[in-house]
């Protein structure tokens, strides 16, 4: 076994935190809380390391003699500007920092989402030219149905207080829930499996 000490530490930490969910004893709770606090602090440090790594990689791209990445300059410039605003103008709680977020980040990300909307619409328009199977037809019909349902057109008006219409709309709204429930069950089972594998030392992502 590679790195048995780290594996042993990981298993013990997992077991203590898991036991704290089931055992109301004060020592177990305190140890679990201590381990969680360490994990939160380490995650903050990990984010700092990730930021340094990001900056260094973009700096390397800028310094490349061949095919220098000009967009990396924008990344470093944007990071420096945001960092200065947050550091100089009062931190995340300041109005200036809020303006950076709401007047720069928000329009940019919303614009990207709008471009994605146009791209998806074009893809839906050309869907049947590229692929004309039965599943494509079902997919197209379901997409059309839920686009219309989520637009709220069918739930407006004054003549909708009919049990048949309400029940039909309720059933249609429930259709995606069935798929969502299946996904959640799969996620839960996968999470349990992953936790058990780490708890038993089968998976050791900390060794990689």
């Amino acid at each position: 076994m590679k790195a048995p000490l780290s594996t042993l530490i990981a298993i013990i930490c997992c077991a203590v935190v898991l036991l704290a969910y089931f055992l109301p004893f004060e020592p177990v709770q305190n140890i679990s809380q201590l381990i969680i606090n360490w994990a939160v602090s380490l995650s903050g440090i990990a984010m700092l390391v990730a930021i340094v790594s990001l900056l260094s990689s973009h700096w390397q791209k800028i310094r490349q003699k061949r095919s220098s990445d000009r967009y990396s300059i924008l990344v470093i410039f944007g990071f420096g500007l945001t960092f200065l605003i947050g550091l100089v103008f009062g931190g995340p709680g300041s109005l200036d920092y809020q303006n950076v977020v709401t007047h720069m980040l928000l329009p940019i990300e919303a614009g990207l989402l709008g471009a994605l909307t146009i791209g998806l619409t074009v893809a839906a328009f050309r869907l049947y030219r590229a692929n004309r199977g039965w599943m494509t037809i079902v997919f197209g019909i379901s997409t059309l149905l839920f686009v219309l349902l989520n637009s709220g057109i069918f739930t407006t008006g004054t003549g909708l207080d009919i049990p048949l219409i309400k029940n039909a709309l309720g059933v249609l709204q429930r259709l995606p829930d069935a798929g969502g429930r299946g996904i959640l069950l799969g996620l839960a089972l996968g999470t349990i499996t992953a936790g058990l594998r780490i708890l038993l030392g089968i998976d050791r992502p900390y060794n990689s």
């Binding site: 969910y21 709770q29 809380q33 969680i36 606090n37 994990a39 939160v40 995650s43 903050g44 931190g91 995340p92 709680g93 300041s94 920092y97 809020q98 977020v101 709401t102 980040l105 928000l106 940019i108 990300e109 919303a110 989402l113 909307t117 146009i118 791209g119 619409t121 074009v122 839906a124 328009f125 050309r126 869907l127 049947y128 030219r129 590229a130 692929n131 004309r132 199977g133 039965w134 599943m135 197209g140 997409t143 059309l144 686009v147 989520n150 637009s151 709220g152 057109i153 739930t155 407006t156 008006g157 004054t158 207080d161 709309l169 709204q173 995606p176 829930d177 969502g180 996904i183 959640l184």
Partner: protein, 653 residues
């Protein structure tokens, strides 16, 4: 290693003139006419000739095994795989030097496999069994031996004899197989007794040295390395010819053989060894292709074989006779011992691989409208349609008339909250979804403010605190703004799910400061909070399903009888509704439309109705484009399939 020659099945070509045959070979043939063949010849597919051992064959009569060959000349067997299986199972009989298996494969056979092998053995016809009894083959219990990739004469002396006298000595020193295992099988006993009757045996052992072959002994089929073939039927009709050549003869015959060798062809013994190795040349060539143990010998052998072919194109041993016997090892090496179940698995795997439905390649769309132009047109259309309500105030629909269960539950839960109590608001959404979630959550936030709740705002997204400020300040502005002392912005909570767990366990320790740097828990909005249970309820605003799920799972067991509310984007709502159904959530609003439902159910005036109208107009245009694209694609497919029927793309995936 002793080897009892099975090449008695070889026969000379009847069309070949006798003057081209060496004298010593003529004598062998004449001798073999008068004597019983020591080993019955092998017929097609490695099966022995249906002739009783001991019968004298008439010279002019076509041998039975050749008749069998003629019968099976052109038609392919109905079940070639079965014949291959029979050949494989009898490989150790056809080629006695063939190892049964280097690995203890028989010990790994299951009972079903053994039963299948026994059943296959029982299906052998009568002549096959008779020949098996008469053939001087190695018994089944022979221990693993080297693969029959090549053979050469092995003398008893360390050095190979160089003269005919030495050859005589070496041949006379051949002894019956000594290391045959004891076997209680009567067949083995019969074989052993038969072997003892034979005075002379030729020991052959595998070797990789094939450069010393006698040129005039080569046959085209042996000299030309042919590609791997599993065709077991003779490609050419076999002429009637007597069974004239038999290596396994008695000592007197060996003497006559020695005396009959011409002086100019009285080659060294090592070259005579190559005669026997040449009989297996084809097999050895194919086997060595897999092994590639001696590439130099291989290349040299091929060149030499090609030269010999040019010199002596006339085959002494018909190709049609040798091919069925020795070409079969091309497909399955002698080292393999494949059972019926393994073959079935092979065929199953092959059929799975071959029969797998390949994903259809997308149809190459050749449109007069380029993709960029289409994107531009659709983008412009969407912009125009969505800007029209904003510019003109056109209302596409009325207010919401039906309400989803989550909205009704939300209203019930918010109305049940006690006034002036601490309340936790979690804003875990990215700036890209701020527009949708702001419209969805603004009614709930306003309703919470109506209750004069002391709000604590926290986020696990770095941009969350700023977006939370923007959301809360946009609810009430200017003079109607919510008192700042009623809201505490706890800021960014690092650590993901671990941070959630830490905050739920001890909020004061997890986030001791506000995002402004002040101590958080002396602030009026939070001074009464010591644990998570001191909050009257929690509202989670997120577009991320994973984040929402994590908060629900962490909070549900720690907040007893406290409402857990959630505002999510429309894309995440289907994954959150199961929590609402299971009462882990006490209220759910999914997207802008349900936010408008909440406003309507609270009897509040519609917030930004023109934006809602713009949103609905855009959704309608998208739906119309999907319909138009579908119709156009279907008709395009129909016409294109009529024009080019070969490119049918209608499939069921």
């Amino acid at each position: 290693m002793p080897f009892k020659n099975r090449t008695g099945s070889t026969s000379k070509n009847a069309d070949s003139p006798s003057q081209e045959t060496p004298d010593w070979l003529k004598k062998i043939r004449e001798k073999s006419h008068l004597e019983k063949p020591a080993t019955p010849p092998l017929g097609a597919f490695g099966e022995a000739e249906n002739r009783q051992f001991g019968e004298t064959e008439k010279p002019d009569e076509i041998p039975q095994w050749l008749k069998e060959l003629q019968k099976t000349e052109s038609p392919v067997p109905d079940e070639p795989e079965k014949s291959e299986v029979d050949w494989i199972t009898r490989l150790h009989e056809i080629l006695p030097e063939t190892p049964r298996s280097d690995s203890p494969s028989t010990t790994l056979y299951s009972d079903e496999e053994l039963a299948a092998m026994a059943a296959a053995a029982r299906k052998l016809d009568e002549f096959n069994r008779v020949i098996e009894e008469q053939a001087s083959t190695q018994p089944l219990g022979v221990p693993p031996e080297p693969a029959p990739t090549d053979f050469h004469l092995e003398s008893s002396s360390p050095a190979a004899p160089e003269s005919p006298v030495e050859l005589e000595g070496s041949i006379s020193s051949f002894k019956p197989e000594q290391n045959q295992p004891d076997s209680a099988n009567p067949e083995d006993i019969t074989r052993d007794s038969h072997i003892e009757k034979e005075p002379v045996h030729i020991e052959l052992k595998p070797t990789g040295n094939t450069e010393e072959s006698v040129p005039w002994m080569q046959t085209p089929v042996m000299a030309e390395p042919e590609p791997v073939s599993i065709d077991t039927t003779p490609s050419e009709p076999v002429e009637p010819q007597p069974n004239s050549f038999d290596i396994s003869s008695d000592k007197s015959e060996t003497q006559s053989l020695e005396s009959g060798i011409p002086a100019e062809e009285n080659l060294p013994t090592e070259k005579k060894k190559s005669f026997f190795s040449s009989l297996f040349r084809k097999d050895e060539t194919d086997s060595s292709e897999d092994a590639e143990d001696e590439p130099e010998d291989e290349s040299g052998q091929n060149d030499e074989a090609a030269a010999r072919t040019e010199e002596k194109p006339e085959p002494l041993i018909p190709e049609s006779v040798l091919q069925p016997q020795y070409n079969r090892s091309v497909e399955y090496s002698g080292r393999l011992d494949i059972s019926e179940s393994q073959k079935a698995s092979i065929h199953l795997l092959k059929s799975m691989l071959m029969g797998e439905i390949q994903p259809p390649a997308p149809t190459a769309t050749q449109s007069k409208i380029s993709g960029r132009m289409l994107r531009l047109c659709i983008g412009i259309l969407l912009l125009i349609v969505m800007l029209f309500p904003l510019a003109t105030g056109f209302m596409l629909t009325d207010q919401q008339a039906l309400f989803s269960p989550g909205v009704v539950s939300m209203r019930t839960a918010v109305n049940a909250l006690p006034e002036n109590s601490p309340f936790l608001v979690i804003t875990d959404f990215e700036p890209a979804f701020a527009g949708e979630l702001k419209a969805a959550a603004i009614g709930v936030i306003d309703n919470l403010m109506m209750k004069n709740l002391n709000l604590s705002v926290v986020s696990t997204v770095p941009t969350g605190p700023a977006l939370a400020r923007d959301l809360i300040t946009s609810v009430r502005q200017a003079a109607f703004a919510y008192p700042p002392e009623k809201i505490s912005y706890l800021g960014y909570l690092p650590g993901g799910t671990t941070g959630m767990k830490d905050f739920i366990h001890n909020p004061r320790q997890a986030l001791p400061l506000l995002d402004t740097g002040r101590y958080a828990w002396t602030y009026p909005a939070t001074q009464d909070v010591f644990s998570i249970n001191d909050y009257a309820g929690v509202l989670i605003i997120t577009e991320n399903t994973e984040t929402g799920r994590a908060w629900i799972e962490q909070l549900h067991g720690n907040m007893a009888d406290k409402p857990l509310l959630m505002v999510v984007s429309a894309q995440s709502a289907p994954l959150m509704r199961p929590y609402l159904d299971s009462k882990q959530l006490n209220g759910l609003i999914g997207g802008r439309v349900e936010g408008a439902m909440y406003d309507r159910i609270m009897e509040a005036p519609a917030r930004s109705p023109v934006i809602t109208a713009s949103y609905q107009a855009g959704m309608l245009v998208v739906a119309v484009l999907i319909i138009l694209g579908g119709i156009f694609g279907l008709f395009h497919g129909l016409f294109s399939s009529r024009s080019s029927s070969s490119k049918e793309n209608w499939y069921v995936s």
